[in-house]
Symmetry: C2
Subunit: 346 residues, 2 copies
């Protein structure tokens, strides 16, 4: 269930576009107004505003937003340049820099069309190897087959390459072996389950895991091609027949990065809300919050399953996500995040 709150009566898109254009004009930028509009419009409405904005003002709304939200940034740069070089001041300036960056990123990611946003996040992830490749897995495993395909189309349009081409190029070995078929998949989405197959493939998975052949062709095949319903049945059989959930058996070596990715893949495919809860928990509890992950999860899930994720978060942490975000973020960044997770009224 989505957390996004859209007001009962939404102004026509040309009015929203006009308000946004006004917010950009004059001295400084009226971030409060920008957030009050964009954080309460769904994807279709935002696309419409962007379209109407381009027609009325001959500019891409995203470009104008980017420019406006970074104007504080430029002011800060001039300010820092005039400052005496005092370590503490530089540190404070850095915090301000970051705050502007986070605010800018959350507004831009949110305003992007869904497919463009996934293409953008995936492209970023192909460039930063290691743990950021989880973003590729996350996109591949938690989007619908159709949405993943639309992201691949948007990737062509924006980067003049294919997503799988970049993923394959920037990865090697077991990581490539898992990630390329994950991002290339177009899984069947029906609820049909073949019980015989579930049993036989649960057995295959158990054999390979017992042999510690974690990147075996058969494990990769089953995880990357079967429908989520079929995979779920297979993993239930695994649990029933072998006495452990598969992820428990994949925990032998806590430092093995590939095993971690494999466990996360299985979690994304079967319990996405638990995967996202953990991601948020780690992002927030970390020394120096991981705003990159926080922003990504909030912007990509607000229209999908954020209510379930919040429920899971509350259960697991005994405090609400709203409470923790308010404690860790601040200013416009905090305001935007809270609006997207449905805090307060539309």
């Amino acid at each position: 269930m989505a957390s996004l709150k859209v007001p009962a009566s939404v102004p026509p898109p040309y009015e929203d576009a006009e308000q946004l254009n006004k917010a950009f004009k004059g001295w400084g930028t009226n971030e409060g107004l920008i957030i009050s509009i964009l954080a309460h419009r769904n994807a279709a409405q935002r696309n419409l505003i962007r379209q109407v904005y381009a027609e009325a003002y001959g500019q891409d709304l995203l470009k104008d937003l980017d420019k406006e939200l970074s104007s504080d940034f430029e002011a800060l740069v001039s300010f820092v340049a005039t400052m005496e070089k005092n370590c503490i001041d530089i540190e404070i300036a850095n915090i301000f820099f970051s705050q502007i960056l986070f605010k800018q990123r959350v507004v831009l990611l949110w305003t992007l069309d869904l497919a463009e946003r996934d293409a953008y996040l995936a492209n970023e992830a192909t460039k930063r190897f290691t743990s950021s490749n989880w973003v590729l897995m996350e996109i591949a495993c938690t989007r619908s087959s159709h949405d993943l395909f639309k992201a691949r189309q948007a990737y062509h349009a924006r980067y003049k390459k294919s997503l799988e081409e970049d993923v394959a190029y920037h990865t090697t070995g077991d990581f490539r072996k898992l990630l390329v078929p994950l991002v290339s998949a177009f899984r069947y989405e029906g609820e049909e389950v073949n019980t015989m197959l579930a049993k036989s493939e649960a057995k295959i998975l158990h054999e390979k895991i017992s042999d510690k052949a974690y990147s075996d062709d058969e494990i990769i095949r089953i995880l990357t091609t079967r429908s989520k319903a079929q995979l779920n049945a297979t993993l239930n059989h695994y649990n029933n027949s072998f006495g452990n959930a598969i992820n428990k058996n994949l925990k032998e070596d806590a430092d093995n990065e590939f095993l971690k990715l494999l466990r996360a893949t299985i979690k994304c495919l079967t319990y996405p809300e638990k995967y996202f809860e953990k991601l948020l928990r780690l992002a927030i509890k970390k020394i120096g919050t991981d705003e990159w992950a926080l922003t990504r999860v909030v912007t990509t899930r607000a229209e999908v399953d954020m209510e379930r994720i919040k429920e899971e978060y509350h259960r697991r942490n005994s405090v609400t996500l709203d409470h923790d975000i308010a404690g860790e973020a601040s200013g416009d960044y905090e305001r935007m995040l809270l609006a997207l997770i449905g805090h307060g009224d539309a």
Copy 2:
């Protein structure tokens, strides 16, 4: 260039549907009429006829065609059953059986929607291993990215599974390693070429081939993810830098089935008309023509590049394809094939 000939003035679809329905009625079936209509309508027109037919007669045109074209078959079965068991007669009966089967198959394959047809052919291929897997490669490499994706969608709808799921399940080892990414690819289709990349990847290909590491991850990555334009540039660099076309260097072992498939893949990606010419040549010259391949190539290429394939065929065999098909096929089957390759008038 397509070989299909559509008359200058095409009757409205309801008239075509009515004519077809008439052809099905009465004693026997009027195959000539069926061919004269269907073999001269393009994909969009055939889809429209099928739609109008369903509305007017409450039946799927394909089902009615199937029933009518196999009615001869049933008559033949009764006839054979009453015959005295004479070896020569059985042989003749077998020839008749085959002729009916071929005629039925060419009409049905042709009438199917493009995406459905590819899904159908691919599904057949997943069930018959070895050389028929070339059909999977052929579909993956000679369709546009968008058409391949539409075939994957049609596969979901018809088989309640994904194409890559079936391909992965029915293959192993090197064949799986090549075929799964081929059928899952959504290649970028722009003409942009990165020359530096072409050079470096030509070098990688040459190193791996020199080491006889034919199924190396890097060879698979390059062949299965790069755009056709980029791949072409890479293979040109290969030829220029190393003095041989890549397929020549992949010919060390003539009996290696995987090497054969690899060469065919490269041919399909860079010179599809040459690949199809050879397929037709072998199908026709074989003792006992390979009607399966002949029918597949004619029905799938008539609206795409059959004119180029015919040109290539003429050049390579010093006779026309029309001539050879007339020599090998007969009856309605021959008539249908010749119509599709543009022989005679619409």
